[in-house]
C-alpha cells in the first residue's frame, strides 16, 4: 500500500505532490488499522463491563483469540508473500512454521546443542527464521524445478515427510506424537531488548507479565502478550511490505503474470522465486516461534501438518490472495466466525448467549414434530462451527474471489491499483 506505481510515475511537478498525497493516504490506512488493533483490548474490556456485556462477549473475539490471530495471521501473510506474489502455491508452508516453533520449544528444553535453555526469545525467533530459510533453500532448490500443481504437491510432500519425522523422533520428547511442551524453562519468553529487563515483557497465558501503569492502566497477561506479539508481527509485516514494493517484489509479480516473458526480458526467475521462498520462510519461522513462545508447546499437527497450511490458504482466500495484509483479516474473520459459533468456555458466542438469554418458555416451545426451540438451537449450533466456516469459504470463493481486502482495494482505489 505504499507509493503506487501509477501515482509516482506522473510526469512533471505533479509527481511529488501526488506521491506525497498517495503516501499519506496509504499510510493513513496503516495507522488507522494499527490504532484500531491497539485500542482493541481496551474496547473489549469496556464492552464486556458495559450494559451490553452479554452481546459483547458473544460477538467480540477474546484477547487470547486475538493473540492467536496475530501470530497465525503473520504465518498466513508469509504464505501469501510467496503464493500470492509469485503464483507458486507453497503447500508445505507449515514446515517453516513448525521449524520456528520446534526450535523455541526444544531450545527451552535444552535439546539444541550450543544453545542454552535461557537463550533470549527474540534471538530464538530470528534463529528459527534463519533455520526456516535453510529448509526453504533446500526444499525450494528441488521444488522450483516444477511449477503449477506439481510444485504444490512436492512442497506438500516435503512437509509431510517432516511431519512424520517429528511425530516419531524420540529425541524431541517423551511422546513426540502428542507434541512437545516447554519443561526446561519456567520463566516466560520475553519480547523486547535482550538482556534489558525493563525493556522486555514476557508473553504467555500463564507465564506472561502483567503491567500496572500509574494505577490507571492495568494489562493482563493476555493483553501484554497481545501487544508484544503485535509489535513483532507489525515489524515483520512492514518488512514484507517493503519487499513487495521493491524492484525485487515487482519482479515477483511479473513472474506471476508471465514467467516465460519475465525470463525473456532477462530475469533468472529461479533465483527470484527461491529468494521469495526464503524470505517467506523466514517470517513463517518467526510466526511459528511466536506461537510456541505464547503457547509453550507444539504438536506435529500444529507445526508441520498440511492442515496448518490449509488454514493459511483459507485465510489468504478469504482475506485476498496477493494483497499481503489480507490474510491477517482473513484469519481474523475465520477465527471470529469460529469463536462466535463455538461452545461456551472457548470464548463464548452465539450458543451460550442464546441459552442464557432466551426465556425458558420460548426454549421449550415446540417448533416442529416435538422438537423444541432449545433443541433446534443445539442441533444447528452446538459444535457446528467448522461446518459454517466451510460454507462461508465456499461462498467466498464463488462470490468474493478477490477476498476481503482485494475487493475493498478494487472498490476504493480503482483508479490506481497496487500492481
Amino acid at each position: 500500500m505504499a507509493i503506487s506505481p501509477s501515482a509516482s510515475g506522473v510526469s512533471g511537478a505533479n509527481a511529488l505532490a501526488s506521491s506525497l498525497r498517495s503516501y499519506a493516504r496509504d499510510h493513513a490506512v496503516h495507522l488507522l488499522v494499527i490504532a484500531v488493533l491497539a485500542a482493541y483490548p481496551g474496547v473489549y474490556a469496556v464492552a464486556v463491563n458495559s450494559p451490553f456485556s452479554a452481546e459483547a462477549v458473544a460477538l467480540l473475539p477474546r484477547v487470547e483469540t486475538m493473540v492467536a490471530v496475530l501470530y497465525f495471521g503473520l504465518f498466513a501473510v508469509s504464505f501469501d508473500f510467496v503464493s500470492g506474489y509469485t503464483g507458486y502455491l507453497s503447500f508445505g508452508h507449515a514446515t517453516f512454521y513448525g521449524v520456528g516453533a520446534y526450535l523455541v520449544v526444544l531450545t527451552a528444553n535444552g535439546k539444541i546443542p550450543l544453545l542454552p535453555a535461557s537463550t533470549p526469545f527474540v534471538l530464538l525467533l530470528v534463529l528459527g527464521g534463519l533455520l526456516a530459510v535453510v529448509f526453504a533453500v533446500i526444499i525450494g532448490a528441488v521444488s522450483f524445478r516444477l511449477s503449477g500443481v506439481y510444485f504444490a504437491m512436492i512442497t506438500l510432500g516435503f512437509s509431510q515427510v517432516l511431519y512424520v519425522f517429528v511425530r516419531d523422533w524420540g529425541y524431541l520428547g517423551s511422546n513426540p506424537r502428542d507434541g512437545v511442551a516447554v519443561t526446561g524453562r519456567t520463566e516466560g519468553f520475553e519480547i523486547g531488548v535482550p538482556g534489558v529487563d525493563s525493556l522486555s515483557l514476557a508473553v504467555g497465558q500463564l507465564t506472561g507479565d502483567t503491567v500496572e501503569l500509574l494505577g490507571v492502566v492495568h494489562l493482563t497477561a493476555a493483553e501484554v502478550s497481545y501487544y508484544m506479539v503485535g509489535i513483532v508481527v507489525l515489524v515483520c509485516y512492514f518488512a514484507m511490505q517493503r519487499v513487495v514494493h521493491s524492484p525485487f517484489g515487482r519482479t515477483l509479480v511479473a513472474i506471476r503474470e508471465n514467467e516465460e516473458r519475465a525470463r525473456a526480458i532477462g530475469y533468472n526467475t529461479f533465483y527470484y522465486k527461491l529468494g521469495a521462498f526464503a524470505i517467506s520462510a523466514f517470517f513463517a519461522g518467526i510466526a511459528g516461534g511466536l506461537f510456541a513462545g505464547y503457547r509453550r508447546s507444539v504438536t506435529p499437527e500444529s507445526g508441520f501438518y498440511f492442515l496448518t497450511t490449509g488454514d493459511a490458504l483459507l485465510a489468504s482466500i478469504i482475506g485476498g490472495f496477493g494483497t499481503l495484509a489480507g490474510p491477517l483479516y482473513g484469519h481474523l474473520f475465520d477465527e471470529g466466525v469460529r469463536e462466535f459459533l463455538s461452545k461456551g468456555g472457548s470464548g463464548g458466542g452465539l450458543l451460550p448467549y442464546l441459552r442464557e438469554n432466551v426465556g425458558q418458555g420460548t426454549m421449550e416451545t415446540v417448533v416442529y414434530n416435538g422438537m423444541t426451540v432449545g433443541e433446534t438451537i443445539d442441533v444447528f449450533l452446538n459444535g457446528r462451527a467448522a461446518l459454517y466456516v466451510g460454507v462461508v469459504f465456499v461462498l467466498f470463493v464463488l462470490y468474493v474471489p478477490n477476498g476481503l481486502l482485494g475487493t475493498v482495494r478494487d472498490r476504493l482505489i480503482l483508479s490506481d491499483r497496487d500492481d
Partner: protein
Amino acid sequence: MVLRTRGLTKQFGGLTAVDGVEFDLAADECCSLIGPNGAGKTTFFDLLTGKLTPTAGTVELRTAGDWIDVTDAPPHRTAGFGLHRSYQITNLFTENTVRENVRIAAQAAGGDAMNCWHNAGAFEEYITEAEAILDRVGLAEDADESAGALSHGAKRQLEIAVALAGDPDVLLLDEPNAGVSSESVGDVVALIEDVATDHAVLLVEHNMDIVMTVSDRIVVLNQGSVIADGEPAAVRADETVQRAYLGGYERGDVDDHTEGAGGVA
C-alpha cells in the same frame, strides 16, 4: 556483424526443423526472415534466444568487440547480452499496467532488480525510460491501462515496447503484424523502420508489403534450410523462392502498400 550462427541445426526426433543455418546480422541492418509455415522461423528465434538448445552448431553474439558463444545460454542470459525478442502470440504481463510492463523490462537491464528494500518508484530512471519507450511506440496515453485491456493492435505495439526496454543490440521481431487490421499496417511499418534506425533487426513477417518495404536484406527459409539470401529485389526475382513461397507476388504492390495491404499472408 553483431550476431552469427554456424551450422545451426535443431532436430525434434526425426524432424529437422532448422538445418545447418549459416546466418550473419550486421549492426545497422534490418533483415527479414521469410518462408512458408513450418519453415522453422520461430524455431530459429527460439534457438537464438536460448529457449531451445540446438542439436548442433553455434550462436554467437558480438558485445564490446568480442564474439561470445551463447549457444547454450538460457533466455535470461541472452537477454542480458542484448538479444531481445517480441512474440508472435502476444505475451505480456496482462494484469500489470502498460507502464509497468515496460518498466519491469527496463529494470531487468539495469542492476537494481535484486534490491528488495527500496520502493520501486524511487528508481526513476526505469520509469523515465519506460515513458520514453511508450512515447516512441505511440502508447503514451495508455500508460495507466492494464495491458490485458488494450486493443489487439496496441498489444502488438506493447510487445515491441517491452522488447525495446531491455536495451537490445539485436531485436528479434516475430510477426509484429500478426492479426493487425489492414488499416494499421502503415503504423507497424513506421514502427519497424523507426526501431531499425538504432538496432539490428531480424524480422519474421508474412506480409510481403511490409517485408519488401522495410528490409535491407531478405533470408528465405524453407524446410529448415536457407534457400536464398540477398537484397529484396534479388530475392524477389529468385526462381527457387518463387516456387517455394512467393507465388504470384508482383512488383507494384510494394509501392502502394495501403492498397495491397493484404499481401501474401
